[in-house]
Amino acid sequence: MESPATGRALFSSALAALLLLGGGCAVGGRDGEKASPEPRPELAEKAAPLDPALVPTKPSGTGNGSGATATTTTPRAATGGLATTTSAPAGGATTTAAPSGSGAPPGVRSLATVEDGTGDAGIGTPAYGDFVAIAFGETDDGKDLQVIVDVAAAFPSPLGDREVIGVGVDIFRTSPSGSGESDYQLFADGGADGWRAFLQTPDGFVEYPGTFSMGGARLVFQVPWASVGGRRGFTTAAFADWSDAAQTLTRDGQDAAPNLGTRRVGLPGGAS
């Protein structure tokens, strides 16, 4: 493909520069040559049942985040009903750099947790579309990044016929401030036919290089550090998009953690 080499607006130049920079990063995936601009099915990882070691020790949606503001959410059972939100202000988010071992699954060091108040995903959004916390850790051998996404109620299985949930965790490398495009993204695509995880890199989608599991109100991504630009600190932001087009009036909702901007995830020992 030829370069356009045309006098583009600054917008295009900036985007191109950003991508070129991103392209300079380490590219993940077991098989780099399989990178694709489109998420071919063989690149995705189907959800596996959650490892018992990763099952939360206390129920989600009960305020396990110290940073949650005073919102009250009443999720309807695990089959995924609508959340009843009784407080107006959207939940705040905090980042905590958890000490090693605090709340982290066995064999994993906790790096940081972005906590998100519940009841802030929009009116009518089910509680399973509402973040509680995003926890970042690394395996004790230092090889893998683990990202645990907790929501306020268990995901129904299966989701509705035209119900879709997308959960994305953006990882910024070339822009420490988290502006512009993320360099890497872990993305879980949930629909009536199940869940799949994708890893998008500066080269596009690559074969998902790790494990993806889910159970109850939790999704867990685990990928090698090498697949997301190496073992070093990063800036992150997560989003959850939920919608259901089965009704005459399509309903949708969005949540973000943090609610605004991004958060920094550092590594012990200053590997940043």
Partner: protein
């Protein structure tokens, strides 16, 4: 626009030659009936091999708010000079833009390249849509000249038409790969 959108939807929903026998009603000017590959339109007599090709997916999934690089190329079959101008227009229900972490949504303005014997315009489309509607469409209008400027075509002149990229609400109806 209707023709290629129909082709895209049909192709996504039902893979296979049988489907594209139906999608063959996409009309004149289309050499490639497989929408996930590079659809091509002819400018003028197909024998002249003056073509306009969209390089990228006609359906974007998942809606993960990521920008995707796509391009269009005008190629002159005789090796003469070409020009190509592309304009992207999104259509979507309210909402679903992913917030300021996921802006802008596409490359705005008129995007132009010229070259001999081909011109390529790179641009960006964001894979996202509002949850409220049936999905987002990016309508890609174009104007191209061939034969050193002596032949001109545009998406506004039948049988040519814009390329339409869809970010669907969901994968109901089948995307084949799910």
């Amino acid at each position: 626009m209707k023709k290629i959108r129909l082709a895209a939807l049909a192709g996504v929903g039902m893979l296979g030659a049988a489907v594209f026998a139906g999608a063959g009603t996409a009309g004149p000017g289309f050499m490639n009936k497989y929408p996930s590959e590079s659809p091509t339109q002819d400018c003028g007599d197909p024998a002249d091999n003056n073509t306009i090709t969209y390089n990228g997916p006609l359906k974007m999934w998942p809606p993960n708010h990521k920008l995707q690089n796509v391009s269009m190329t005008a190629t002159d079959g005789s090796g003469d000079a070409t020009t190509l101008t592309v304009t992207v227009t999104p259509t979507d229900a309210e909402g679903g833009d992913g917030g300021p972490n996921h802006d802008p949504d596409y490359t705005p303005g008129d995007l132009t390249d010229s070259g001999t014997p081909s011109s390529t315009v790179d641009f960006w489309l964001r894979s996202e849509r509002s949850g409220k509607g049936d999905g987002r469409t990016y309508t890609i209008n174009w104007v191209a000249s061939f034969d050193n400027g002596n032949t001109e075509c545009s998406s506004e002149q039948a049988p040519n038409e814009p390329f339409v990229v869809l970010v669907p609400h969901d994968m109901r109806g089948g995307a084949g790969w799910k």
